[in-house]
Amino acid sequence: MLKKGKMLGLVLVVMLVGLLFAGCDNTAVADGEDKVVKVALLLPGNINDAGWSQAAYTGLMDAEKEYDIETSYIESVPLAEQESTIRDYASRGFDLIICHGSDFEDAITLVAPEFPDTGFAITNSGAKGDNLIGVGVQNEEQGYMAGYALGLVTKDNKVGYVASNEGYAMKRTENGFIAGVKASNPSASVITAYTGSFDDAAKGKETALAIFDKGVDCVFQYAQGSGIGVIQAAAEKNIPIVVTSPSQVKIAPNQAVLAVMSDMKVNILSVITSYVEGDFGPDLKIVGNFSTNLYKVSDINDKLINAENKTKIEAVIKDLQAGKITFK
């Protein structure tokens, strides 16, 4: 009796785990031709996070429409499973494996040499190898733009920055943000808060409310899924906010100062294009910034930004596009 019960329990658990993978791993069906390039994308977050991971997913989908490729993606890959997930894709015969974000750097540099015939790419990283390319992203520029705009908006000279965790991209964005605030308003101070989560929207909202309580009167959200809560908090408390996509503007149409978009799909698309067209190799260099159209600004809100400041912001956009503002 007991044994039977245990077996049933085991079967149940296996079924549950199976369901999980059914939910995450979406492999497009191929006709079994050998020629089709198989591309895999590993994401740190969800494809509907309205930000970082979603942009990459969109790039993958665009590439699928454009080229005769077979794609697969996997979401929310935990740190502990990065290595095994990459290895799994490589041994299943994928030709190009793209990891989205510097978090994957250790895992991908370890696995890449084991599969010399497979192409590996990692975004937001300077990693390099015979079959591995790092796609540079100038995060500071995005932060700089947001900081510059909020420096002009703040009345009490207290500007907020809410990010998900203290990762490489978030820290670089923060550095750019602080530089941007100082450039437009040297007397303003920056208050930084981390939500510690990529998807806990409620916690994002509470974190934003907490810094508003401490006198922050405008904010930039760079907190992925938890950032949706930050935008809702700003909308509720009528706090001007800089967001990272035009769709986020819709959550707080009256409070959104502007959107500094990072069109990550550009980077994903250019990696896939270079692979399909045979340019992929150790000498390939892809960098994303304002000048390569990775970053764009949209939805400047005339009610929050007057004509004089708008001219200033447009001048900064031009300078960034021309590469006149540099970071170390």
Binding site: L8, L20, A22, G23, N165, I191, D200, A202, K203, S245
Partner: protein, 311 residues
């Protein structure tokens, strides 16, 4: 020090009460269940299911309260599934609970994409916003801090008293507690042990599902993948921290809520402490409290997590 004290504003207490409420509600459900000798690690997943179905219900009917009804229904279903697994089949409770958590992350993400697709911004539905209680809400300071919350938040606090009363002042409570301590003796007394265990699984699961609805309908008005964010685990910890007493469990929930509210405001000071350390502050506080209360005799139900065999 003066700067530290400036944390404790009206807004701080308001945020503490609000943030603690889903943890408290889930912890109360877990107290009832553990008192009946079963523990459920899967309440994290039940919460996530509740959060999702609450949004789905509000989306389909246009009425946020129907969302709560949907959450209650999924709570019943998950409670029955759990009871079937651990009471009838007698599978390992920790493993089954973990299975529910994994299932919840996968299935709610999958369903939300099947129903709403991958949207640029999560779909918003009608939520259950704050309701100022007449007269009481006008009391200076206290009115704004205590009597201006969402009805679901009040519900969490009202349930503390209800659960306490049922457990300690009614014959039902006596039956539940005897099942958790001496199920064989309870059976001999004519108590339907299996039936009560099924009932407690369902009720506690309903508590957690509504706790999820607090997240998705009261705090927000939308569903985000994995939005339960570990609150279910905090609820399980609160039960141990509160020594299987509803009051204690509620206190545990408040500690997590206050710890988070403090942590968020400390970050706002720009204190030179790494943010990752501040983020674990609520857990550190909980750990200290657990060590402090450990000295007293444990109130852990004797038959907790042991499968029951009727002879």
């Amino acid at each position: 020090m003066e700067q530290f004290l400036s944390i404790f504003t009206e807004d701080f207490f308001y945020a503490t009460i609000r943030m603690a409420s889903p943890i408290i509600l889930a912890a109360l459900g877990e107290v009832i269940l553990e008192r009946a000798g079963i523990f459920n690690l899967g309440i994290e997943g039940v919460m996530l299911f509740g959060a999702f179905f609450a949004v789905l219900g509000s989306f389909l009917t246009g009425n946020a309260w129907m969302g709560v009804v949907f959450a209650l229904l999924i709570g019943v279903v998950l409670g029955l599934v759990y009871a079937l697994a651990v009471v009838t089949i007698r599978s390992n409770q920790a493993v089954t609970g973990t299975g529910i958590n994994i299932l919840a992350i996968g299935l709610t993400s999958l369903l939300s994409r099947m129903i709403w697709g991958v949207q640029a911004v999560p779909l918003t539905v009608k939520g259950i916003g704050p309701l100022k209680i007449p007269f009481l809400g006008d009391i200076p300071v206290i009115g704004a801090v205590v009597f201006n919350h969402s009805p679901l938040v009040y519900l969490a606090y009202i349930m503390i008293g209800v659960v306490y009363f049922i457990l300690y002042r009614t014959s039902w409570g006596l039956k539940i507690r005897s099942i958790g301590e001496q199920p064989k003796a309870a059976d001999t007394m004519g108590i339907n042990v299996i039936g009560w265990k099924y009932g407690m699984c369902v009720i506690s699961s309903m508590f957690s599902a509504v706790a999820g609805a607090i997240l998705s309908l009261s705090f927000m008005n939308l569903f985000v993948d994995n939005m339960s964010g570990g609150r279910g685990y905090m609820a399980v910890a609160s039960v141990i921290l509160g020594q299987w007493n509803p009051m204690g469990a509620a206190l545990g929930g408040l500690i997590f809520g206050a710890g988070n509210a403090i942590q968020m405001r400390l970050q706002a000071f720009g204190v030179p402490i790494p943010s990752s350390l501040l983020l674990v502050l609520p857990m550190v506080i909980a750990l200290i409290v657990v060590l402090a209360v450990r000295g007293s005799a444990s109130a852990r139900p004797s038959a907790l997590a042991k499968p029951y065999y009727k002879e």
